[in-house]
């Protein structure tokens, strides 16, 4: 068993999706506990990816490929897991995220999502061109801890304020931490529109989210 989990960690570390899938299938077929495949294999690999990223050896594509390999493996393993994880799920940080109305840019948001997934957060991605009402509804429905609002264009960043204002109108502004992102933005802008934080890139974003929730950066 230790051999297969070790190989699995290595496959994730190297971002090899096909190899990762081959190994999880083999693990299940030979009766390995699916939880072991995750905690002693996949997660170990992804943690190592995070370390290499922090050390400057890995870049975004390394992260993305590892996260994709891990994601597909988890999707495959989930039906095999016993239903005793439900209680644990409440403790997972829940994030609602999307790009504002009138803005179709997604790449920055997608990088943030990837980093959040790697950090073990639960993501509800609303996509692009999202009206304020939809953001607010998703925060309510998912009981989100964090709302991420993305906008790339100088013409659409104003929409971020509309979303935050609507949260206040609905009386739920205090229930969720709001973080804004997008190239034309600044800390000053974040304060002006009433967000809790602004991050220039995904790495800073994850750190700020953790700080907002009182977790370690």
């Amino acid at each position: 068993m230790s051999e297969i989990t070790g190989d699995l960690a290595k496959a994730v570390l190297e971002g090899k999706k096909d190899e990762t899938m081959r190994l999880v299938r083999k693990g299940i077929d030979s009766g390995v506990d699916p939880l072991d495949l995750i905690t002693r294999g996949l997660t170990v690999g992804l943690d190592k990816v995070g370390e290499k990223f922090e050390e400057g050896e890995y870049y975004l594509p390394d992260m993305m490929l590892a996260a994709e390999a891990m994601g597909e493996a988890i999707d495959f393993l989930e039906p095999h897991l016993k239903a005793d994880k439900e209680t644990k799920k409440d403790k997972v940080v829940k994030v609602v995220i999307g790009t504002v109305k009138g803005d179709l840019h997604s790449i920055g948001k997608d990088i943030v999502i990837m980093m959040m997934k790697a950090a073990g957060m639960e993501i509800h991605d609303l996509g692009v061109d999202v009206p304020s009402e939809k953001f607010v509804l998703a925060v309510k429905e998912n009981n989100a801890d964090i709302l991420g609002i993305s906008a790339l264009m100088t013409t659409t960043i104003q929409e971020q304020k509309k979303v935050i204002d609507l949260l206040a109108d609905e009386g739920i502004r205090d229930r969720v931490k709001v973080i804004v992102g997008g190239a034309p933005l600044s800390e000053e802008w974040a304060l002006k529109v009433g967000a809790d934080a602004y991050a220039a890139d995904a790495i800073v974003g994850i750190k700020k989210m953790k700080a907002l929730l009182g977790q370690e950066g």
Partner: protein
């Protein structure tokens, strides 16, 4: 100048692969009218995308229309097709600037915008004024239209008419420019600039964008096709792949324009950037920007179109040494390759930050880059063997007419900024950096440059167009 990074066979392969991408992968095209136009012309639907037949694209490329821009003062003429040199323009649509007093960033106001236009109008190496700052102290609905509205009032140079992101914006931008020119017919006859439209990358034309393209093409005004892909994020990471993908975006754009109006002049404009692959941030610290610009100059010329490319840009957030060397490098490549329009004056941090001091320093950088753009004139008179003879016979070079005449012709570059005095002299004069010199010059320009003074009636008309636009938007 004659720097050609791409070989003839490279251009041919890039063209062939572009047609392959367009005909086999296709592009996302939204908007009923655009889809109808393209499907009627022979495009087909597959996987939610439109495929562009090779013949349709090649037909659309035929007989390119030449482009000439005129100043707000019609006597200023910029022939973009067969341009005698590279022209320059400043950055556009930035909403934060570096405050020269505090050295901190702050949001731009209408006053800042007017100051930047005045500075741009005064600089001798800035050929076209692009609406630069997006004022944050105006109602949000009209902030983007206010940029061209003010720019048109304070300069006599050619003006980039504006960035069109939907039909509404396109209509009002055209209306503003037509008001300055005295009617749409006159504007089409002597356009002072182009309408810029950016699709999304990769190969994605949303409904608002196709609406803006169709509306612009119908007007007959010159259109700037402006894809802005980022290598590694929204385009292949390789320079060759990034160039080909943006070329496919250009040709899909061009095909739609030419199906709407074959007489619409087009400018092949590329903003191919690279991301920081650890953060995903596109900050402008990228020596390939300039090199890509040189390649684009060749691609555009392969299609008989004028080119507009990145020029002066840097990842730096202040006008410092990093900014100096990165800008010089990024502007030199495309100018050596004969790019038609080179951008970036006054820009920092990959397009996110504006600086008036940098704008003034950039005028100096361009004057140095442009100094040898025509190369070296080699003939018997420039070589001056006779002058050597007469000096050797007992004269001196300073006392030669040859020296005086060629000095007057600009044979030695004579700059306005920067030091070349010995240390003691420099120190005695205050020991100032080029940035401090630029700051002083900025104050002089803002206080003294008269520039163009627009008729009150025209100014009123522009403001009433803004009010009308606002009313339509908020209705």
């Amino acid at each position: 100048m004659n720097f050609k990074p791409l070989k003839t066979e490279d251009l041919q392969l890039m063209h062939d692969m572009t047609l392959k991408i367009l005909s086999e992968t296709g592009a996302i095209v939204e908007g009923e009218e655009a889809r109808d136009i393209l499907l009627t012309a022979g495009c087909s639907k597959e996987n939610g995308r439109l495929l562009f037949p090779v013949k349709l694209v090649e037909d659309s490329l035929g007989d390119p229309v030449s482009v000439t821009l005129y100043g707000v003062d019609e006597n200023i003429v910029l022939p973009l097709t067969d341009a005698p040199r590279s022209y320059t323009h400043n950055f556009g649509s930035v909403s934060v600037l570096l405050d020269p007093e505090s050295d901190r960033v702050r949001e731009a106001s209408v006053n800042d915008l007017v100051d930047f236009i005045k500075i741009s109008d005064s600089l001798s190496h800035l050929d076209m004024v692009v609406p630069s700052l997006r004022p944050t102290d105006l109602p949000e609905e009209i902030a983007s239209l206010a940029m061209p509205a003010y720019t048109l009032q304070y300069t006599s140079k050619p003006v980039d008419i504006g960035t069109a992101s939907d039909v509404w914006e396109t209509r009002y931008i055209i209306k503003l420019a037509a008001a300055i020119r005295g009617g749409l017919d006159k504007l089409v006859e002597k356009p002072m600039g182009t309408l810029s439209i950016s699709p999304l990358s990769p190969l994605n034309f949303p409904a608002d964008i196709t609406g803006a393209i169709i509306e612009s093409a119908r007007s007959g005004l010159p259109v700037t096709m402006l894809p802005c892909p980022t290598r590694g994020l929204t385009a292949p990471i390789t320079l060759a792949g990034g160039l080909v993908q943006q070329n496919a975006e250009q040709l899909a754009f061009l095909t739609l324009v030419r199906l709407v109006n074959r007489k619409t002049p087009l400018v092949y404009t590329c903003r191919l950037a690279a991301a920081n692959m650890r953060t995903g941030f596109v900050g402008g610290k990228d020596p390939d920007q300039g090199y890509a610009g040189a390649c684009v100059a060749q691609l555009a010329s392969y299609y008989g179109l004028p080119s507009a490319v990145y020029g002066l840009d840097s990842g730096s957030v202040i006008p410092d040494i990093q900014s100096g060397y990165e800008r010089a490098m990024n502007a030199l490549y495309p100018m050596m390759a004969g790019a038609t329009l080179v951008s970036g004056m006054g820009l920092l941090n990959g397009g996110l930050l504006a600086s008036a001091e940098q704008l003034i320093i950039d005028d100096e950088i361009y004057s140095m880059l442009a100094h040898r753009q025509h190369g070296v004139e080699v003939n018997r008179d420039t070589i001056g063997a006779e002058v050597v003879r007469s000096v050797m016979d007992g004269g001196n070079y300073l006392a030669q007419e040859h020296t005086r005449d060629y000095l007057r012709k600009g044979e030695i570059h004579n700059g306005k900024l920067g030091n070349d005095a010995p240390y003691e002299e420099w120190f005695a004069a205050g020991g100032r950096s080029v940035r401090e010199e630029a700051r002083d010059r900025m104050q002089v320009i803002i206080n003294q440059h008269q520039g163009k003074v627009v008729d009150e009636s025209v100014s009123k008309e522009l403001h009433s167009i803004l009010e009308e636009a606002k009313a339509e938007k908020t209705r």
